[in-house]
């Protein structure tokens, strides 16, 4: 649309009714503790990978739960599975297994 000089912008607003329930269904099944997360962020605070990039386990869990999983793979690949997240979680969320599952599921989907 060069003649207009502008285009319609896609909305940023997430429509929760249209969200992708696929991943959360699979992961919730494999690791139900994903539902216990209260978003406190202690996992992101201790995360080894997060010291070097904008990786955030809390955000990933959030994204899976709200079905915004489009760009999640690139993010999940930053995880080192070092397990500190699990050690600090006040709700006993097995964040490491959640991330591992995402890696596995997304890897399979990719094939």
């Amino acid at each position: 649309m060069s003649e207009w000089g502008f285009t319609v912008i896609q909305t940023n607003q997430s429509d929760m009714d249209q969200m992708d329930r696929g991943l959360i269904a699979k992961i919730g099944n494999a690791e139900p503790s994903i539902f216990w997360c209260i978003g406190c962020g202690s996992c992101s605070a201790t995360c080894t990978a997060a010291q070097f990039n904008n990786f955030s386990p809390r955000r990933i869990i959030q994204a899976i739960r709200s079905g915004q999983v489009k760009d999640i793979m690139g993010e999940v690949n930053k995880c080192l599975l070092c397990g500190k997240c699990q050690l600090v979680c006040p709700r006993h969320v097995n964040t490491r297994n959640i991330l591992l599952n995402v890696k596995q599921i997304m890897g399979q989907d990719a094939i």
Binding site: E3, W4, G5, I9, T11, Q13
Partner: protein
Amino acid sequence: MGRLYERLCEDLRCLEGLKSCMNCGVCTAICPSAEFYRYDPRKICDTVQRADDESIEQLLKSDTIWYCGECMSCKTRCPRGNTPGLLIMALRKLSQEMGYFTDSEKGRQQFAIRRVIGDSILTTGYCMRPILVNPANHPEQGPVWEWVYNNLPEVMDKVGANYLKDGPGALRRIAPEVLSEINQIFQVTGGQDFFQLIEEFSKDKADEMCLDAGELGGDNAYFSEVYTKNSGNHH
């Protein structure tokens, strides 16, 4: 507490706009801009509230503060009586005073606004006149407007406007003595200086980008750059 934060606090709109934010996100939820840009007024309030100069400077140099449409919908809903939109206005003012606005694509557009709206106010007494809505620059105005534009005196006359004539009425000519009053007010209140500041910083940026900014109007390379450039990285 940093220098930038203190300067920000001198602006009444910052004091009015940000009392204490509890990050509830109600502003972002209704913000038209948050829907279409990578923009989150809640985070802006939070950043300013933390009074960290480094992140405030980053904000002032970013595209972020220029996304707001100043519709002030945020004001209606904030449970703490803040107005993120007013805070944005204070941030934009400071960004222009510091010359940081030329660091971002959206910030640089201030030059075009100053040239079009600023000049129009001072020379004609109006922010907006039909002649400024040139169909070439406004394809969205459509063929009816093009017809109006090409027949301005006749159409305006038919609908009872006093187009470019003396005396009261729509689109009348603003008398020279009135314009001098307006200019005087701009002189006295710092409006003129502020225009000058935008001009100077923009010209520096234009030089840096090896583009000509001209002396008047929008007929120059820097103007068309800032008026039309959209990197597409905003959402």
